[in-house]
Symmetry: C2
Subunit: 213 residues, 2 copies
């Protein structure tokens, strides 16, 4: 029955349907846009730390929390990163005050003694199968990337996520020692002006993305 | 220099560091817990639609927005879903008022005429390579799962995400016709009481998950 109602009335958010304040719904989702060009204003580690102090609480499989962040700011490091970006993203990385390489840590199991204290054998469950760990890390870290983008916006920063890159090249360049696997790059900062974002592109209707059983 | 500051002062969110209200930071992240047992209160399509009207705006690669949602409520459909869950998750699915199967649509390219109007050939770019589409869909849909969990909480609902399941079994059971690929199952509703969640498990410190270059 509820299905029929939803199909008959395509609406934006109904009045009273959110516990979240309208201001914060706009901040995090409704008025937030991917930003391509930023001002020169620096983004401090404290700002990213404040975002992390939100996203850290988001759920992951077995509390593995495998998302890792490489914060790239120096011209030298920016050049090393830009060399592995798709052509359209090179200048974006070079110009943004901060580029965050979001990565998955396939060695997350080394922290499970801390993270999953109620399962004393959690580390050993994963120790033998590096390929399984890489898959598990990728899945949960991508979910955490969703939290990260929301959390950056929660600090007042704007985000420009980019998937166009050579992940293997980035991993060889920056993660040869710690084994992290890069997922995407997110520029962060304040928008340069009214042309910092493309016009909003359309989205699909609820009836196009959902079914009920 | 900012790196040194962050390493010297491990803190929870510093005063004034968030644009998000403290109440909403608690609602979405800091006081939100994975819920395992729910009351019988029904969860309507309208409530999920309100969550969708937030998460729909979250960024995805090339605006492909490949996340799809199967809303499972009837006892018959619950039994079909529970048959493919890990043993510890069977009763959780059967008891929750709503179980959402979050899935990725590898045929997202069929919507690109609508979603990416500034790239007229977008559909054709993806038409020939179904394996590449499946990978792209999985990556962006997992990021959208992060938005979904935040957005469900924004409506006042509580979420219980579960990865322990047989994705291929679920896909054969429910998605043989539309080709969706299941990612995880998220129970949604209101918590049954003070024991509905486990005690909060630890998380890693910012200095453990981040590096600066």
């Amino acid at each position: 029955m509820t299905t029929q109602i939803a199909e008959q009335t395509e609406f934006d958010t109904a009045p009273g349907a959110l516990a979240l304040s309208p201001t914060d719904a706009d901040l995090l989702f409704r008025e937030a846009h991917t930003v391509n060009t930023f001002t020169d204003t620096e983004v401090s580690d404290d700002q990213v730390h404040a975002a992390y102090d939100l996203l850290r609480w988001g759920p992951t499989m077995m509390n593995t929390v495998p998302l890792r962040l490489l914060l790239v700011r120096t011209p030298e490091a920016k050049a090393r990163l830009a060399a592995h970006m798709s052509p359209g993203n090179v200048d974006r990385v070079l110009a943004a005050p901060l580029s965050i390489v979001a990565a998955a840590d396939p060695n997350f199991h080394e922290h499970l003694g801390t993270l999953v204290p109620h399962l004393p054998n959690a580390r050993e469950m994963f120790a033998a199968d590096a390929a399984a760990r890489a898959g598990i890390a990728r899945t949960s870290a991508l979910i955490q990337v969703g939290y990260l983008i929301v959390a950056l916006r929660a600090t007042g920063l704007h985000a420009g996520p980019m998937g166009g890159m050579d992940p293997a090249g980035i991993d060889a360049e920056f993660f040869a020692e710690n084994g992290w696997n890069s997922l995407l790059v997110i520029n962060a900062g304040m928008p340069s002006g009214p042309d910092a974002s493309r016009p909003r592109a359309p989205r699909l209707e609820f009836s196009q993305v959902s079914r009920s059983e």
